[in-house]
Amino acid sequence: MQRELLKFALFAALVLVVAPLYFQGGYILNVLVFVGINTMLAIGLNLLLGFAGQISLGQAAFYGLGAYVSAILTTTHGFNPWLAMIFAALAIGALAFVIGFPILKLKGHYLAMATLGFGIIVYIVINEYVDLTGGPSGFPGIPNLSIGSFSFDSDMKNYYLIWGATLGVMLLAINLARSRIGRALRAIHDSEVAAQVLGINARLLKVQIFACSAMISSLAGSLYAHYITFVSPSTFGFHFSVELLTMVVIGGLGSIYGSFLGATLITLLPEILRTFHDYDIIFYGALLMIMTIFLPGGLIQGGTLAWNFLRKSWGGKGGADA
């Protein structure tokens, strides 16, 4: 645990001190804020997918619901943004809890399709319920978050706000992984029947982690809405659920820092591939397939393998604790 905390502190220092000093505002900082939001979302999905082994292709729906609930409550009804954010997370967590029971009874492909169906229904409702959401043309004029007279209105301020929240979620996930619940989730991942035989209430636990991941997504959605001050349905479609899945898989299932790596890569990729324009969709698809076939453990595993290989070839004996 000590080593784990040290690793986390090092990471937090890197994110909160080094990165903002290095990229004094501007475009890159804006991209890094999105890395933060996506890391949070990827960790939320990773809790479900990497720990409990339950796939969800509807994460974008929770993200979108969080953003829209925050937007509507603050802008249309004049709620305090912080209150609206908490309310959104609780309401969406409750929703996920309720639909979680029938959905998580399903397994494998069926689970994938059910969550996907849910995601598409939410997307259609956001698009069609124009009176409430503004429909396809979007929802403008969402206020920035503020404490007293201090408003989070610049990229730099939002960088700290959003990365603060993301680091909080990371810490939560790291602790969760090493707790009794984390072990129970991994047991469910390996064999649900065996876990139940050991006295784990698998059904309830799966639903709880589903709700927890929905709440994290909702929180990310609220932060996004208050940062950009504009939301539109196209951000929260099926392709974003797939993008999130890609982040988690490419980073490494069940690895918190892997989710960060995956989110960073997928967020930066469009910026890097900008010169290739439309070809990035092909690259995406190929990456997803190649990674699953050749490196099912993700970037994190790839990094560990490479590190052990280097140590072995230079140190002669090494690789003892691999």
Binding site: L49, I103, L106, H109, Y110, I120, A286, P296
Partner: protein, 293 residues
Amino acid sequence: MNLTDQLTQYILSGLSTGAIYALIGLGFAIIYNSTGIINFAQGEFVMFGGMLGVYFFHKQGLALPIAFLLAVVVTALCGVIFERFAIRPLRRPTPMNMVIITIGGSIFLRGVAMIAWGKDTHVLPTFSGDEPISFAGATLLPQHLWIFAITILLIIGTKLFFSHTISGKAMSACAVNRRAAGLVGIDVRRMIMFSFILSSAIGAMAGIIIAPLTMTSYDVGVMLGLKGFCAAIIGGMSSGLPTVIGGLLLGVLESLGAGFSSGYKDAVAFVILLLILFFRPQGLFSRGSSERV
């Protein structure tokens, strides 16, 4: 137009889209039964069929029947390549890996189509004119009849294939138990390959016969694929009649739903999907079986 006529109209047009869903659903079921994989790229085969049809007809100036045939053959070839290079290399397939790989494959294929043929929507001419036909107070296009005819032929064809040919029977055996099928000397790998050929070809045909009515573009595959999957789920993943009935049912319900509110039309299929998955995951027409641990 009175209410009954309107209803007939909705049901007839629902049946024709339903026939398309049925064909796509059959494609899902055939692959699922021989491999245990839900092929998320199934919709892309449908899109490829339509787009290749457009390409061979408009760009290469071939006669429609030849364009049709070529489009089906090339799509089937894509199915083989996809199976060989994306599905087979996986050493330890789990449902999750397969979901991710086939999603990756579908994104890849969509990207290829986008780059090859652009983002525009394309249209194929109807197979035999646009003269509307009156039928029981509703109007039909000749293309609707083509859709019904080709669907019926394909369904009878697959039925005969599965029950009367050695390969078809071998594939059915794989569906029941892959390992046992392997033990009695069936080349399971080849059967998996066959199932990809068959379902991509059927998907391609569905894509071509619907293209004159709904137009086609590089991104039509997602929705068509998902709705085809709904059809297969309603039919309990059977590669026969239940899936066909599931497709027709879905088409009609969707068409009636569109009569009430066109914006929520697409949601109908997914609400049905969720309801079926929640309450009757074994399909609408079969009894549940117990789970093996």
